[in-house]
């Protein structure tokens, strides 16, 4: 897929080309929105709104990372939604309700490498992570979602969240710290390799990402 050519066609009003870009990025945007908003329905709405406004404003895109441009847009949509929620607070959904289970990703269900127990465990872990993410202030959550879940580098995060690099660094550190404290409460869910105690120290040096 020649992304640049597709973007150019989309800028000329070709909806088919734009829809190919949608297919390429919809999972990324949806996951980002899902982790920030913590709700599948709202995340889907934010994703759809992002693509709609992206198509309408695509002539405003002037090079650079298209993914970053979309990310910035989806984060905007998420913040709009969070602001809306703040104005009209509603009862939050429990992380383990039936609807959540129904909306389970088909790919996840189809994964043959997981036993039902593993799947259940991972599912539980995901709920724990969601719980801890939701407990973070939105600004912290956004940074940690972009950096650790979506794997963006610092400059990409700064661009997408429209926050200076220094702020990203401090927010990320504090968000990770809070998450760690929160996840300690779900120790029994964590895969043994991630548990704090009894971890061989030698791994420390090997994993250093230098």
């Amino acid at each position: 897929m020649d992304e640049a050519a597709l973007i150019l066609d989309a800028q000329r009003g070709d909806l088919d080309s734009f829809n190919r870009l949608v297919l390429a990025y919809q999972d990324t945007l949806y996951n980002t929105a899902l982790r920030i908003l913590g709700d599948e329905g709202l995340a889907a709405d934010a994703t759809q709104d992002t693509f709609i406004s992206a198509f309408r404003n695509i002539t405003a895109y002037r090079g650079g990372s298209f993914k970053g441009w979309l990310m910035r847009s989806v984060i905007n949509a998420c913040y709009d939604e969070l602001r809306r929620q703040k104005r009209r607070p509603s009862v939050p959904l429990e992380p383990t309700n039936d609807e959540d289970e129904e909306m389970e990703s088909p790919r996840w269900l189809a994964d043959p490498s997981m036993s039902p127990e593993q799947k259940f465990e991972a599912d539980e872990l995901e709920h724990a992570i969601k719980h801890c993410l939701d407990a973070l202030p939105p600004d912290f959550r956004t940074v940690v979602v972009l950096a650790d879940i979506q794997g963006l580098d610092y400059t990409e995060v700064a661009s997408a969240a429209r926050v200076p690099l220094g702020t990203i660094k401090s927010r990320l550190a504090r968000a990770r710290m809070r998450l760690r404290q929160c996840l300690q409460g779900f120790k029994e869910l964590l895969p043994s390799a991630f548990r704090l105690e009894g971890e061989p120290r030698s791994e420390l040096i090997e994993e250093n990402p230098l």
Binding site: L15, A44, N208
Partner: protein, 431 residues
């Protein structure tokens, strides 16, 4: 672990992401080795980060591809659409302009009537004249060379109809008051009826414009819907359906068009009676003297009146003709203008009225009119006829009877007579 400073925390976090310089990394590594607090923080952050990175990506629950509708892409307007729209708008504007002009016409007409009462050039169809000024002069005057002397002599001295009526009521001492009131109303009505309202814009034009507006509006709508349908078929955007809002708008449009049609129809037919009620007061000089026709019920009655030139109009009322009529009046009408369709107007006009106004003739009455010598070369004496105002057009008075009655013309004594079957206003003309 909480004793770690925010700066150290940031350093550890950045170190995990490989964002520290070589020197800072080395320094931090050695500190982590020696400081258990810092090591604990390092481990904690590393694990949190690893757990988050392991978090499975969910697949989008649905496809977020945009439909043309979501993208705000509208089907192209058909090329003829602006033409239809413009035509419709122009026709509507012209329609309302014309309608407004016509609405203001009665006002102008009644103003004109206040200065000169006349039977008007509208003639048989008061709507037939387009863009013509309110009639103030008799075209007959121009065409008929040896015309009768005008009867407009000494108008100021003659009593008005109201004075006559008042006089009669006090004189008779009979319960004529209601009759007088009826007569008054009837006189007003009868006089108002022949007053032509010359509409500046012929109602046919208005109907045409309204039709054009409707047809081109419907055309615009249809070509648009057709284009939208073929477009959405081509773009797989789903069928175009008419919403309840569209249906409501269409119903509203139909209602408006029906209302306007009725309004124009009403304007073209009901104008003379609906809009203009000339009162006796502002008709000047419509009537000189109203004469009550004396009659005895149950026997044949005969009446005659002479005008200023000694020319006599005579009427025979058979005993069976008068029905419920309790009073009869003969009113010469002066300063009249000939209907358009006649070639000659003898300037002789009069109104026959009965009270109560519901009274109808039960049998033909015969009217004799003397027209004098002067008519000579101006018209064919063998074609002279009485015309009768039906409320919206002039008809041959003979046609008021069924079967149509026959004229009896006596050129040698300058007299014409015809049986008629309606009260009302009559004119002597040559068609």
């Amino acid at each position: 672990m909480n004793q770690v400073s925010p700066r150290d925390l940031e350093q550890v976090s950045a170190y995990l992401d490989g964002q520290l310089s070589q020197a800072d990394s080395t320094r931090l590594e050695s500190r982590i080795q020696s400081d258990p607090e810092l090591r604990s923080v390092y481990e904690g952050l590393r694990q949190s980060r690893a757990i988050l990175r392991k978090l499975p990506q969910r697949r989008a629950p649905r496809n977020f591809r945009l439909t043309p509708k979501m993208a705000g892409i509208k089907p192209p307007l058909p090329r003829v659409f602006p033409f239809f729209r413009l035509a419709s708008a122009l026709a509507a504007i012209l329609f309302f302009l014309g309608y407004g002009l016509n609405l203001s016409a009665p006002l102008a007409a009644s103003t004109a009537a206040a200065t000169s009462f006349s039977y008007g050039t509208g003639g048989g169809d008061p709507m037939a004249v387009e863009m013509a000024p309110a009639p103030t002069e008799a075209p007959a005057e121009a065409t008929s060379a040896p015309k009768l002397a005008p009867q407009t002599n000494d108008l100021a001295a003659t009593p008005t109809i109201e004075e006559v009526m008042t006089f009669q009521v006090s004189e008779t001492e009979e319960p004529l008051q209601t009759d007088a009131a009826n007569f008054d109303a009837y006189a007003n009505r009868s006089l108002a009826a022949p007053q032509p309202i010359v509409l500046p814009i012929h109602p046919l034009w208005l109907f045409g414009l309204l039709g054009l507006a409707v047809v081109s509006g419907a055309g615009a709508f249809l070509v648009r819907v057709r284009t939208e349908q073929s477009w959405s078929k081509a773009n797989a955007a789903g069928p175009v359906r008419l919403g309840s809002r569209d249906l409501l708008l269409m119903a509203l449009a139909v209602a408006v068009v029906v209302l306007l049609t009725v309004a124009v129809y009403w304007m073209s037919t009901g104008f003379s009676s609906q809009f203009v009620t000339l009162s006796v007061d502002n008709v000047n000089p419509p009537i000189t003297t109203a004469q009550q026709i004396p009659f005895t019920p149950g026997v044949d009655n005969y009446f005659s009146a002479a005008d200023g030139q000694g020319l006599v109009t005579s009427i025979e009322f058979p005993a069976s003709a008068l029905g419920e009529a309790t009073a009869l009046y003969y009113i010469p009408v002066l300063d009249t203008v000939a209907p358009d369709q006649v070639t000659y107007f003898a300037e002789h006009a009069f109104t026959l009225l009965a009270s109560p106004k519901s009274a109808q003739l039960q049998a033909p009455i015969t009217i004799w009119v003397d027209y004098g010598e002067n008519i000579g070369s101006a018209a064919d004496e063998n074609k002279l006829a009485l015309y009768w105002w039906s409320g919206n057009e002039w008809l041959d008075a003979a046609a008021t009877c069924a079967p149509v009655s026959a004229y009896s013309r006596l050129p040698e004594i300058n007299q014409v007579s015809v049986p008629v079957c309606q009260f009302g206003t009559f004119l002597l003309v040559a068609p």
